[in-house]
């Protein structure tokens, strides 16, 4: 789960990291009020869960409250990389002498948290890593010991930070790691971490990602999820306990198991490309888990069908311990519960697959076909979607 800049900086502040004394607002009037309260020049920053806000015109300076209201008016409602701006952060403008970079993330290969520091603040760290990896100083952190002060000094020294800032830098590094660990983050990034004209350090921009699997022990963080930033289908799927990711194709996919669900998407996309049908492909990733019980299938069908782009549904179930004949009965029951006029292709594989197919075929329902192989299923779904589209024209 990604957090907004303002949420990340609020958490940083709770862990003792100095941040600008700004406020998040949703209207030009509030922007005016906050700018007036702060006094002086402010920065109006779009709060969207994507990078490149500055380039898209989502970050503007305002010299007085009237300007702040004006800029907020322009930025609110703006679309940045497909995301609508619903909130802006009003921060006092900082007097920047130097920009640094500091983050903690998980290094999968080393199986440890990794702190990275760089004197190249304000840049995309992936780009720095590609072009000048020597400018990033790295310290792996023992998950039991936590960050040791000497490791923070290694980074300070490595990025040639003037010694007068080492104490504050060490405090910030230690607190950033605490914030990372105590929030179960997978990323806590300060970019830039600035040295101001007055010679103190400030976390000017921040980004955090929280481990979804750890949200059960952070109800306060779970509430920070921005539901406006995700498709409504994803919100509904989460509530139904389903793992759903919206994509942009026309074939709704429902599969048991994450690996098989990815594979079904891959094959559907390949088949659509091979058949030369532009715009056709998977409309979503959806793992309905083992068993494929009727109630889960029905819930998943409702979510898939609420996407108006979906012109066909491909159901791919491997029946293991739950046999395919049982799965077939569940699917037919779910299909009875959910009103649908979209064609459906069902592929059952595994235990009692033939019996399962016989049940599907025996139902003799319009708009319902069974398939044998993965490729066969994908071809039938792509053709069914095309036919459904043509019938509408």
């Amino acid at each position: 789960m990604n957090l907004h800049e303002y949420q990340s900086k609020n958490l940083f502040a709770q862990f003792g990291i100095p941040t600008p004394k700004g406020k998040v607002v949703t209207s030009p009037q509030e922007a005016y009020d906050v700018a007036k309260e702060l006094g002086g020049t402010v920065v109006v920053k779009a709060q969207v869960l994507t990078g490149g806000r500055g380039k898209a015109g989502g970050v503007k300076l305002a010299r007085n409250p009237d300007e702040a209201a004006e800029k907020a008016e322009a930025i609110l409602g703006m679309t940045i990389k497909g995301l609508i701006v619903h909130k802006v952060l009003i921060d006092p403008a900082a007097d920047i002498r130097q920009e640094l970079y500091l983050s903690v993330t998980n290094d999968r290969a080393a199986r440890k948290p990794l702190m990275m520091g760089s004197a190249e603040g304000g840049m995309d760290i992936e780009q720095v890593n590609r072009e000048t990896p020597e400018k990033i100083v790295r310290e792996h952190i023992d998950p039991f010991l936590g960050l040791r002060d000497y490791q923070a000094r290694n980074i300070a020294s490595g990025i040639r930070l003037p010694r007068e800032h080492w104490k504050q830098f060490t405090d910030i590094a230690r607190n950033l790691f605490r914030c990372f660990q105590e929030c179960d983050a997978t990323l806590a990034e300060i970019n830039p971490l600035v040295i101001t004209g007055a010679g103190t350090m400030l976390a000017l921009d921040g980004k955090m990602t929280i481990d979804d699997n750890a949200l059960f022990r952070h109800p306060d963080l779970a509430e920070m999820r921005d539901l406006q930033a995700e498709p409504p289908e994803e919100t509904r799927a989460r509530a139904a306990g389903l793992n759903y990711i919206k994509l942009d194709g026309d074939i709704g996919c429902m599969v048991n198991g994450a690996g098989l669900a990815m594979t079904t998407m891959d094959i559907t996309k390949d088949v659509a490309a091979r058949m030369g049908i532009n715009g056709s492909g998977p409309a979503n990733f959806l793992d309905i888990g083992g068993g494929a019980q009727a109630d889960k299938v029905a819930a998943a069908l409702r979510i898939i069908l609420s996407d108006p782009k979906v012109k066909a549904v491909l159901l791919n179930i491997f029946g293991g311990i739950t046999r395919c004949d049982e799965v077939a009965k569940g699917i037919l029951q779910a299909r009875n519960e959910v009103k649908m006029d979209v064609p459906m292709v069902i592929r059952l594989a595994g235990t009692n697959a033939a019996e399962g197919r016989a049940i599907i075929d025996g139902a003799n329902l319009p708009n319902l076909q069974s398939a044998t192989t993965l490729v066969d299923a994908a071809e039938k779904a792509v053709l069914a979607a095309r036919a459904a589209k043509e019938a509408k024209h």
Binding site: F144, T263, G281, G290, T351
Partner: protein
């Protein structure tokens, strides 16, 4: 022969009295796995499916001589269960549980590396040595004994492949699900080495997915250290960047861990890569 589990496996089940634990204990016993006991704190002294239940792993191991443990407890309790199994000296620990926070797994892995235990998983379907032992949740009847080793990050995708192999008359030595989490106990290379050393295994199927670089390291290992042919399949060609595709580890981050880079690494190491899982029997 085969690897990791066989007729000599003496299995204890943690979470044996839970819904999942009980169901799969019945399934494992029906398959012929030698389940010797179970553990549920507070339920010591009870019996489940004719097997004694203990309060602690240590007691269960001492009383039953168990040499392998399987964990079916929920994610918030699973790390403790893994630590308990490690500290009780279990040789093999299989954790089926999905959804363990990555921070917990980093600590588990540190502790594990200091021990003699091997951990398979978490977030995995477990192991199956056809005709001998099933330790996990794989549907046993789709597999048949043979000479192909299967190692995979996925559950149902593995069943697809095993089913396809069996239907073509190609049997398996052992099927190993290493799990779809970013940090696990046993990786591709560990299992590839075991298959390389196993006299029953002649060929290997590797099923990977997007995220991380395990498949790339596996490609280098196969090229440098394996004499047995390997056929691979990678899931997630159509997956968007920055989204976790069901498995916590199936995530393309900062342009890394893509389908393309993994397939290129495998092909560069002269490993056959199937376009879709149904091609695997042909490529073998």
């Amino acid at each position: 022969m085969a690897i990791l589990v066989d007729q000599n496996t003496r299995l204890l089940v943690t979470g044996i009295t839970g819904r999942e634990g009980l169901f799969h204990t019945q399934q494992m016993i029906a398959y012929g796995t030698n389940v010797v006991g179970g553990v549920t704190p507070g339920k010591g002294g009870e019996w489940v499916e004719g097997k004694p239940v203990f309060d602690t792993v240590k007691e269960c191991r001492e009383s039953t001589g168990a040499n392998a443990a399987i964990i079916y407890v929920p994610a918030r309790f699973a790390p403790d269960s893994i630590y308990e199994c490690i500290d009780a000296g279990m040789e093999l620990i299989v954790c089926i549980t999905e959804g363990i926070p990555i921070a917990d797994m980093m600590k588990v892995r540190e502790h594990l590396d200091l021990s003699e235990s091997r951990l398979i998983g978490p977030n995995c379907p477990g192991l199956l040595t056809p005709g001998q032992a099933k330790v996990g949740i794989m549907p046993g009847y789709i597999a048949t004994p043979g000479n192909v080793g299967v190692v995979s990050k996925s559950g149902t995708l593995t069943y697809e492949v095993v089913n396809a192999l069996t239907q073509r008359g190609i049997g398996q030595s052992t099927c190993v699900g290493i799990g779809g989490d970013p940090i696990n106990g046993t990786d591709f290379i560990d299992v590839l080495q075991l298959f390389e050393d196993d006299p029953q295994t002649d060929k290997v199927v590797l099923i990977g997915e997007i995220g991380g670089d395990d498949e790339i390291k596996a490609a280098a290992f196969i090229r440098d250290h394996m004499t047995k042919p390997v056929v691979a399949f990678i899931a997630g060609k159509a997956a968007p960047e920055g989204r976790t595709m069901g498995h916590a580890g199936a995530l393309i981050e900062g342009g890394r861990g893509t389908y393309k880079e993994k397939v290129e690494a495998l092909l560069a190491a002269n490993i056959k890569v199937a376009q879709h899982p149904e091609q695997i029997p042909d490529l073998l």
